[in-house]
Every structure is written in structure tokens, then in C-alpha cells.
């Protein structure tokens, strides 16, 4: 991986910059000592590490603005950070950059139950939003498995998804407005409590922009009333292809469950050992299908799903017999990454594929990993084709780590080839930056860079990520400006 060469001029001015930051927001907001900074040297893609120039943890939007204004005026790069759970190196610092973390800005500002919206500071954790509204029976829908730790800021920057997004959509479908500090320190509101954007849909561009456009400090998100009840069931199959077919048939029949999750045999084994969820151990593929509603509605829906699955001869069919078993079934799924992490280091891929290609792609993933001498476990959101192959390797073994990266790249190229994409929810970051050429033409990447430049013309925000380093925007033809003036 090639990193942007750090600006040694900036590094040489470090002491000056530290005092400038302290002056801008107060010394107690700035972390400059080595031990303090070490906590920020990586994110959940731990293969890459880098000590930042400094870390600032502001408490208000105005403080974020003061930091950015200072950095802008002094040509200092900035990396925005939430909780640092990014799996693609999105929050990886740079030696010549200041990390600006929003984790101390985590208040709920306003709840409108009638309009079903909440305004919060962006450093609030995903789960805390739901916790704030759950006494009234509401929740915030996007539910990444990291929801206990990750911040809404990170979710917005990555357009994160989760198991229940099949029914409720991902982050971009659940946010109505953001307050964002631009690199020059200006504070701008996009969207608001109303359902439609006014003018251009900037929110669509900001959500998923991976910290390239500005620092989001507040957001208005939609909340939803929880269903009366929900229950998962498990369907075990003797082949992944059959499980894939079952997913297609459920959806084709007109039923949209809240979630359809898939695990293969290696994943089932590890998760069962961890969660004692009662997963069947003698199957090749397991589907967790959850439906919502009243007791009666749930029973009817689950019965229909069993009927749909029957011709495919599932080797096991288990409906959760109560809340406790339901919780254990989900605990196993949500803890899957962690459980596998206790056994082995892994690279988590995140490509998406059209469902019709599922069986073939899973076979191909196994053979790709085998050809590199590696094992793989598959756990993913089957309803929307978002794969998460976990390629297991030994981190101390440099060669294995390298082979894992090669296998990962091959898998993602395969996803693009069958009509899918490089990343369904984890983002591009540094990890998939160079693979962007596989999915996009030069022209398309330049168009994206031009849009980035509208927000951050000096390229000070999260530089060296998302866009391959060799893609450059040519200076504009003068004709454009002339036409505007006319």
C-alpha cells in the first residue's frame, strides 16, 4: 500500500501547530503526548498504523470550527474520527495530520416523537440514539454490528448498514439533516426536520463521503416505532446454493423479512461455541430469518416461510421459542466478527453481489482462498447480497498477511465482475482505494474528485484515501467560466 508522502514542513512545525491548536480550543482539548496519541494510531483495520501529529477532541461545533479554521489557514491536514471502528482504514491518521475526534460531542439535542425525528450531536453512539427513544417504544433503524461503539458521525461518513437494513434501509435512508463544519471553519446546515431536501440533494453526497467533505457535528435522523414483536427462525441447508435459492424464493414470494442473515459452516461453528445459540452444526449453510408484528402475524409469516423453504429440503428448521432464544440467535450473529477474531486474525471483505450469483460466488471465494492456502468463513446480509468473507491468517506471518490481501482483492474483483461492487457498507478508505479502478473509469473518478473539490478544494480532509493517488483533476477549460458569465 502506497501512502501519501507526509509534508515534512508541517511535521517540522509541530510545536507551533500544537500551541496554535491550544490557542484555538484550549489546551485541555488537545492530546499531544505520545501515549495519548497512541490510542488513535489505527482503527479496526489494524494492519495499518500511524502516529498523528496531534489529536483534538472538541466539545462543540464552534470548537470544531475553530480547529478547522486554524488548520485551513496553516495548511494542516485533518482526519475526522468517530469511534475508530472503521474496517477499511477510513479513520487511519497521517503523520502530518491532526485527528479531530467528535466522541466528546454525544448529546441528544431534541426529540420530536410526533414528527418521529431526533436531533443529536454526531459523536453519540449508534445504540445510544435508540436507547434515548426506546422508553417511548421507538428506535433508530440502521444497526451495524458495531453499534455499541461506533458513532453516528462514522455511520454517516460510511453510510453504514446492518442486519435490519433489508426492511428499513441504510444510514442515507434514515437521515434528514446534518450540521457540518467545512474545512475553512464555516458551519453549514444541510437538510432539516422535513422529509425532502431543498435544492440539490447535498445530503446524498455527504452521507458516505468518508470524511472527505467536512466534519459533521450534528444530525437529524428518523426514528421508527418498534414493531409489537419480532422473532427469528433458523433454516439449515446442506449447500450454500440452496440457502441462496431459499432467499430468492422468500423475496420472490412477496415477503420482505426484517433481516435474512447467512452463515456458512466454519462461521456457524465458531459462533455457536461463543453464543450457545443452538445453531445446527451439521449444515453447510444457515439462514437466520426475522419477521415482525403481532404474535399472530409473526406465526402466519413464519409458517409461510417454512412452506417456501420446504421444497428445498432444509436439514433443520427452528423457530425461536421465546425472547431468550431470539436474543441468543442474534447475539451469535452480532458477535461473529469478534468470535472469529478470538481464533485468528482476519481480513473482513464487504463486497456486494446480485443474489442470483450467490451460490457460484461462494464456491469461487472458497477456491480463491484455498489457492492462497487460507481459510475463509462467510457471514453476511443475504437479503441484500452484501457478503462478508472473513479471510483468516496469522498476523505475525508476513507472507500469510500478504496472501490474505491478494485473496481479498481477487474476491472483490469477482464481486464487481458479477455485477456487484467493492464495498456494501464498510467503505473504501485506504483498504480499497486502489481497487477503485476496477469499478470506475478514470472519467468517473475524476467526476467524484471534482465534487470533493467543491467541498474541500485544498484537499486537506482525509487526504490520500478513497480516490486512487494517480487520479488527478485537470484544470478546467476556460469555456466553462465564460459560459457562466454570459
Amino acid at each position: 500500500m502506497e501512502f501519501l508522502a507526509p509534508d515534512h514542513g508541517v511535521i517540522a512545525r509541530r510545536e507551533l501547530i500544537l500551541s496554535g491548536l491550544a490557542e484555538a480550543v484550549g489546551a485541555d482539548r488537545v492530546i499531544s503526548d505520545e501515549d495519548g496519541r497512541r490510542a488513535y494510531e489505527t482503527d479496526a483495520l489494524t494492519a495499518y498504523k500511524c502516529m498523528p501529529l496531534a489529536v483534538v477532541l472538541p466539545r462543540t461545533t464552534e470548537e470544531v470550527s475553530a480547529v478547522l479554521r486554524y488548520c485551513h489557514a496553516n495548511g494542516v491536514k485533518v482526519v475526522a474520527r468517530g469511534a475508530g471502528t472503521s474496517l477499511c482504514g477510513g479513520a487511519l491518521p497521517a503523520a502530518d495530520a491532526v485527528v479531530v475526534g467528535v466522541s466528546k460531542m454525544n448529546r441528544v439535542l431534541d426529540i420530536d416523537f410526533a414528527g418521529r425525528t431526533v436531533r443529536v450531536e454526531s459523536g453519540i453512539t449508534n445504540l445510544a440514539i435508540s436507547a434515548a427513544v426506546s422508553p417511548e417504544g421507538f428506535f433508530y433503524a440502521p444497526d451495524p454490528s458495531s453499534q455499541l461503539a461506533c458513532t453516528l458521525a462514522g455511520n454517516l461518513a460510511m453510510n453504514s448498514g446492518g442486519a435490519h437494513c433489508l426492511k428499513y434501509g441504510v444510514t442515507t435512508n434514515n437521515v434528514l439533516g446534518v450540521r457540518m463544519v467545512m474545512m475553512d471553519g464555516e458551519i453549514v446546515d444541510f437538510g432539516g426536520p422535513q422529509l425532502d431536501p431543498e435544492g440539490y440533494d447535498f445530503l446524498a453526497l455527504i452521507v458516505g463521503s468518508e470524511g472527505q467533505f467536512g466534519i459533521i457535528t450534528e444530525a437529524t435522523v428518523r426514528i421508527i416505532k418498534s414493531a409489537e414483536g419480532a422473532r427469528p427462525m433458523m433454516l439449515g441447508f446442506d449447500s450454500a446454493a440452496k440457502a441462496g435459492m431459499c432467499v430468492a424464493r422468500i423475496i420472490g414470494s412477496g415477503i420482505i423479512p426484517v433481516a435474512i442473515e447467512f452463515m456458512d459452516r466454519p462461521a456457524i461453528k465458531v459462533c455457536e461455541a461463543f453464543a450457545k445459540a443452538g445453531y445446527p452444526l451439521d449444515v453447510e449453510a444457515l439462514l437466520i430469518v426475522e419477521v415482525e408484528g403481532s404474535e399472530e402475524e409473526i406465526s402466519e409469516r413464519l409458517a409461510q416461510i417454512v412452506e417456501i423453504a420446504r421444497p428445498l429440503n432444509p436439514s433443520s428448521v427452528t423457530v425461536a421459542d421465546g425472547d431468550e432464544q431470539a436474543a441468543r440467535i442474534w447475539k451469535g450473529r452480532k458477535a461473529a466478527f469478534g468470535a472469529i477474531g478470538r481464533l485468528s486474525d482476519y481480513l473482513c471483505m464487504d463486497g456486494t453481489i446480485p443474489l442470483s450469483a450467490l451460490g457460484q460466488v461462494l464456491d469461487d471465494i472458497t477456491s480463491i482462498c484455498k489457492s492462497h492456502g487460507l481459510k475463509v468463513a462467510n457471514i453476511f446480509h443475504a437479503g441484500d447480497g452484501n457478503l462478508h468473507p472473513l479471510i483468516m491468517y496469522e498476523a505475525n506471518d508476513r507472507d500469510a498477511a500478504h496472501r490474505a490481501e491478494l485473496a481479498g482483492a481477487e474476491i472483490l474483483k469477482l464481486c464487481v465482475k458479477v455485477g456487484g461492487c467493492l464495498t456494501g457498507e464498510h467503505g473504501v478508505g485506504v483498504e480499497k482505494r486502489d481497487l477503485m479502478h476496477v469499478q470506475f473509469t478514470e472519467t468517473e473518478l475524476v467526476l467524484q474528485l471534482r465534487i470533493k473539490a467543491v467541498f474541500d478544494p485544498l484537499d486537506l480532509l482525509n487526504a490520500g484515501k478513497v480516490f486512487p493517488l494517480d487520479v488527478k483533476v485537470a484544470p478546467d477549460e476556460p469555456a466553462g467560466d465564460a459560459a457562466h458569465a454570459a
Binding site: N173, Q194, G199, Y200, G252, G254, E425, Q448
Partner: protein, 408 residues
């Protein structure tokens, strides 16, 4: 304007745009032209229609996805989907009748370019939420794609979604890929009668705050209810507040019972069965209660539901004969006002400044649309960013110059 360009393929559209840009010419970009009278008058050298670029290019019912060329008529798409028991979840509104043209003739490209959604938007999301991918040509004459055919995709900037609501000012979409959903097996409607606007909004919000997945909430004051084609409801001769439920039959029956119980303080509702419900919501989708008229203008206001009635009251203090329909539990207000020189823009926007929200002038004479801000005026920063975005896509101002904002 007599020349209308009608490219039949992406490459042809691309080469036309390149030539136009090189000669510093601009075009008015349209689908079937049904919404030509929305927005500021476009002062372009010629027009271009996407209707030569048509056809459904991909439909995978089990993956809930369809791709169509931009000029495909929406009606064709809906027929195709219905054949497999599916639909566009966001129920795009058909402005044709309100704008003095036919219902059912808009193109799918325009639905996304204008981000047109209907009553179900409040639970299912807007057109923008269902767009998965786009192929388009920008003002430089570059063909580009963004997104794709899969539901989950965060690879690079979400340019496809960023094009929704841009009214053809940034790029010409040639293909759109979108998410579809199964049609519900059953639909029922509870119609509460005689409520004031305040109470109606309160009821609609209470219904939306229930766990019963209400998929439409609309309030019509008595004067608008009197314009319905739906006989039973017109003859009720009261204001109407409608709550829609959609699901499999047993579920609809159950939820209807629970909602009636929960909302009983609002009086006994009229109940519409499936057939009657479909007629009623179908009519609303064509905005039948606010038909075209040369003596009236039409505004569309987006705001937070809880402030909607006050907002409307403030506007009424400055204007007579204002008709309002509330959709999205009050978050969307359609306002019909008597024709006037500034279409009430200053009063309406002053009221918005107090209560929050924004307004778009959907129908007014061309002279009025020339002189007042049709789209909500932007604050200086957003305006600067909007100009920046325009020039990232279309630096020589080829597409729909001035349609949304005079300076863009």
C-alpha cells in the same frame, strides 16, 4: 424553440452534448415534457428529449431490482411490475393533471430527476431512497455511471442519489436502476371525518407513531373533499383524514382493529375496503383534488408535521381562498392559492422563515415564474456550493440553464 433533439442512444446523446458545449449552446432537457412548466423558464438554444432512449433493460423480481432507460414511460414500468405483483414503493406522484397535461405520461428518468414521491413516501422512503444506480452524460459530454444494481453499495460518492431532485440541471440520465417491492396483498383505509387541521395532524402523527406500519396519512379539508371523484367520500361532506394500512389480509384486519381502538377519541371512521382504497389513493396520486386551473397557482411546502397547521394559518392571515391538502402527516402541504402577481411568494416565505420548512412554486404563469423564486432561495453558502456542484458536472451550462436558480 423549434428544434427538438431526440437521441436514440447514449453515445448519440453524448456526441450532441459535446457539440453543444463546444459551440457554447444550451438545451432544455425533458422527458415527455409534462413538467416543462415547473421551474424558472429555461432560456435554452434548443430542447432535447430522452424519449428516444427507452426500454426496460433488466428486471429481476427475486432481487427486487429493475433497470430502465431514462425515457421509458412510467406507465410501461408499472405495468411490467404489476405483472409480477410488484410496484414502485415510493408511489411517484403524477403532476400531469395539475399541470394541465395528461396523467400517466411521465418518464422514469424524470421521476428520479425531480425526486417525485407520493403518499407512501412517509414509510417507504422517497424516489431518491430507491435509486440504486445511474448511467448519465454530464455537461462535459462524459458518460459516467454511479451505483449499480445491488442494494448495498458505498463504493465512492453516491452521485446517483445526488442527481435526484436536480431537475435535469446537472446531467442527462440515460439509465436508472431502482429498487422495487412486492405489492401488498390487501389495503384498507380508515377515514376520520370532520376534524380540524390541528386535530388531523395530531391524529396522523399518532397513527404514524403506532407499530402498525401505516403507509399513508392524508388530510383534506371539506372544500377539497368536495372535489373528490370517489363518491362515498365526496358525499360525506366533511373534512377527511385518511389512514392507510397495507399488508397480508389477516394483518390488515388486525391492525385496523387496533388502530380504531387507539384512535377512537377522533370519532368513528369510514372504512374503505381494498377496491375503494385503491381508487381513493390512486386519485390522490394524480392530485385530482387540485386540478389545473388558470385562476389558481399551486405551491408545495415541505416542513415538520407539528408546525404545518400554524404555518398554514399564518399564510391564511395574508391570503384569502387558500386550499390546503396535507400529506405525509402534515410534512407535505399542497397549497392552492388565487393567481396573483408574486404568487404569494413573499408572504409564504415569510411564514416559512418563522415556522421552518421550504416551498416550491409548482404551477404559475410564465411571467410569475420569471420574477419570483420558484425553488426556495438558498443561503449564500449553499448557493456557492450549488454553483460549484453545477460546474463540476456542467461547467459550460449546457443543461437547463437557470431552471432552478437564476445564477445556476
Amino acid at each position: 424553440m423549434n428544434e427538438i433533439l431526440k437521441p436514440a442512444a447514449d453515445w448519440e446523446l453524448q456526441s450532441m452534448v459535446k457539440q453543444l458545449a463546444a459551440r457554447n449552446l444550451s438545451i432544455e432537457l425533458v422527458g415527455n415534457g409534462t413538467k416543462r412548466s415547473v421551474g424558472r423558464p429555461v432560456n435554452a438554444s434548443m430542447a432535447m428529449t430522452t424519449t428516444g432512449i427507452r426500454g426496460i433493460s433488466l428486471y429481476e423480481p427475486t432481487e427486487l431490482v429493475m433497470s430502465a432507460r431514462a425515457g421509458t414511460p412510467l406507465s410501461q414500468i408499472e405495468v411490467e411490475l404489476a405483472g409480477r405483483g410488484q410496484m414502485l414503493p415510493f408511489e411517484p406522484i403524477d403532476l400531469g393533471p395539475a399541470l394541465g397535461s395528461y396523467a400517466g405520461s411521465q418518464t422514469i428518468g424524470a421521476v428520479f430527476a425531480c425526486n417525485l414521491s407520493g403518499a407512501r413516501r412517509i414509510t417507504a422512503g422517497a424516489a431518491r431512497d430507491h435509486l440504486l444506480g445511474v448511467v448519465g452524460v454530464n455537461g462535459r459530454g462524459d458518460i459516467f455511471k454511479s451505483g449499480g444494481r445491488v442494494m448495498k453499495n458505498v463504493t465512492g460518492l453516491d452521485i446517483a442519489r445526488g442527481l435526484t431532485g436536480s431537475w435535469g440541471t446537472l446531467a442527462a440520465m440515460t439509465e436508472v436502476t431502482f429498487k422495487v417491492l412486492p405489492m401488498p396483498d390487501d389495503t384498507a383505509t380508515l377515514v376520520f371525518t370532520g376534524l380540524t387541521e390541528d386535530l388531523a395532524v395530531e391524529l396522523m402523527c399518532a397513527a404514524m407513531g403506532s407499530p402498525y406500519e401505516v403507509s399513508g396519512t392524508v388530510h383534506l379539508p371539506q372544500t377539497l373533499a368536495a372535489r373528490l371523484l370517489h363518491d362515498d367520500l365526496r358525499m360525506a361532506a366533511r373534512s377527511l383524514t385518511a389512514i392507510r394500512l397495507e399488508n397480508f389480509p389477516r394483518s390488515v384486519a388486525y391492525r385496523k382493529g387496533r388502530l380504531k381502538e387507539r384512535l377512537k377519541v377522533y370519532g368513528p371512521p369510514i372504512e374503505l375496503d381494498q377496491e375503494s382504497s385503491l381508487r381513493f389513493w390512486g386519485e390522490l396520486r394524480r392530485l385530482s383534488v387540485m386540478p389545473y386551473g388558470s385562476q389558481t397557482y399551486l405551491w408545495r411546502i415541505s416542513t415538520a408535521p407539528k408546525v404545518a397547521p400554524q404555518l398554514v394559518n399564518t399564510i391564511r392571515r395574508h391570503m384569502d381562498n387558500v386550499e390546503t391538502m396535507y400529506d405525509w402527516s402534515g410534512g407535505l402541504v399542497w397549497l392552492e392559492i388565487p393567481a396573483s402577481a408574486d404568487a404569494g411568494a413573499s408572504d409564504i416565505r415569510r411564514a416559512l422563515a418563522t415556522h421552518g420548512g421550504y416551498a416550491t412554486l409548482v404551477r404559475a404563469d410564465i411571467g410569475v415564474r420569471e420574477s419570483v423564486d420558484v425553488f426556495q432561495p438558498l443561503n449564500p453558502t449553499i448557493e456557492r456550493l450549488s454553483r460549484g456542484l453545477k460546474s463540476a458536472f456542467d461547467p459550460s451550462n449546457v443543461f437547463n440553464p437557470g431552471r432552478m436558480y437564476a445564477t445556476i
